[in-house]
Amino acid sequence: MVLVYIDQADQQIKKASLEALSYGAAIAKQLGCATEALVFGTVKDNLADLGKNGAQKVHQLKNETLNSMDVKVHSNLVAAAAKQLNANIVVFAHNLNGRAIAPAVAVKLDAGIVTGACSLPNMQNGFEVTKTVFSGKAFANIKIETAIKVIAINQNSFGLVAYDNAASIEAINLVIPPASIKITKVEKIEGDIPLTEANLVVSGGRGLKGPENWGILLDLAKALGAATACSRPVSDADWRPHHEHVGQTGIQIAPNLYIAIGISGAIQHLAGVNRSKTIVVINKDPEAPFFKAADYGVVGDAFDVVPRLTAAIEKAKAAN
């Protein structure tokens, strides 16, 4: 059986977990076995709907102390559930919580683990999973050599698959260990689309010359419904918050569309974004290395091009 850990934030199931569920269901199909989901905490979503992403059964441990991540507690519980339910493969989203607990769960299950996976397993010769390495500059095929396997799948690398069934929901009986950390404060960033979950991303670099010029980029992002990002020099100069920094030492993202404005495309930046499905580069320097990695390029001054692009998008939206 393939067991998929369903992560939540603010009592809502994350898109990354639905992708993980679709991924787990695809593995189960390869193996001819069942897909079951594991949900902790008091989630507000309708759990039967997890059937629409491939779960036949949902095991729930409903306890509000589990709404925030405590690695020691959560990893113990996932491992205990996997043992109780006889899971052969445990799947996580490689998001903030998934990366915190999946490796600990693997240790507790004597399982080999691949994190940052980006392919279905190849079972021609053992059990091989492809993962991104060198921060997106390459891939590695990793063979898992243990009976039980743990996989954490990259966000936005396996699309949601629609299934036509409702999942049955069962309570799972597990003893919750004592908390190992105490949450004392939560600060929320309101309104933003989280970068790692965004399908569309608009990103700015030093070419925008200063934080006061970000308005044109924010207008474009708003017109598209896109999240905003930036290059490292921009976040280092505090023009934009650190959590927007994408690149080798920032966040690695894989949206459907990445629009880079005034970013030259240094190899460290490309490493963070080269898994994007479509890349648009707007830069006034025709020699900018980013054009080599782009699908569409506009050689021109961002201060002219970006407002014009925003207007074109508004126009297309109005025409629909």
């Binding site: 994350k14 691949v114 095929n141 105490k182 030492t249 506009v298």
Partner: protein
Amino acid sequence: MKILVCISKTPDTTAKIAFIEGNTKLDESGIQWIINPYDEWYALVRAIELKEKDPATLIHLVTVGGVDTEPIIRKALALGGDEAIRIDSTSHDSFTIANQIAAVAKEGAYDLILTGKETIDYNSACIGSMLSALLDLPFISLADHLELNEKVATVKREIESGEETCEANLPLIVSCQKGMAEQRIPNMRGIMAARTKPLKVVAPVASAATTSISAFDLPPAKSGVKLIDPEQMDELVKLLKEEAKVI
């Protein structure tokens, strides 16, 4: 206060990645090796800052690797580690590496174990979490602030909707990311002192690998950029809608 900082040797961030021997091995020619930036800039520098506040603090460094890792260990000692332990194994299996570090951690009875959020070569982000299971200690991942008050740590970590502040009793494992500290450059005195600081080499403990790398691959090259006239943004929107189908 005893702090263990886990460091790893990685290619420089500007390194061009290529493979040899039928795509089974990294082409190391021309590669500059550095301390994994997350380990150095955030984990190690934060440990040094904590030592500056409380000079009785001891910082031990641990790395799993061959003799070729010693230059980066010396650099970490020059930045401010007190002692280093190199576990003589060249394994790439996260579980094996975590087992090695766990053995050193058990023996050293550390109050705090710091790692970077991931290495920039294999990007597995496994070691902190695995150590938590192997040592049965609390683990806080993706932290960008860390303060110590006696035996209690206050840590800020990234969550999906913002940031969360947590408290945990020591001993504790923390994985560090941007915001935790600022990059430093070793000074001459540090570099001189590093030459004589202890660097202990220990044999690996027995641990069966759970994974192996069978081959590497490079991403397919882009077929070439389609240039659009800056006056024709309607054309770009049309291409994104009808050709790329992304908006």
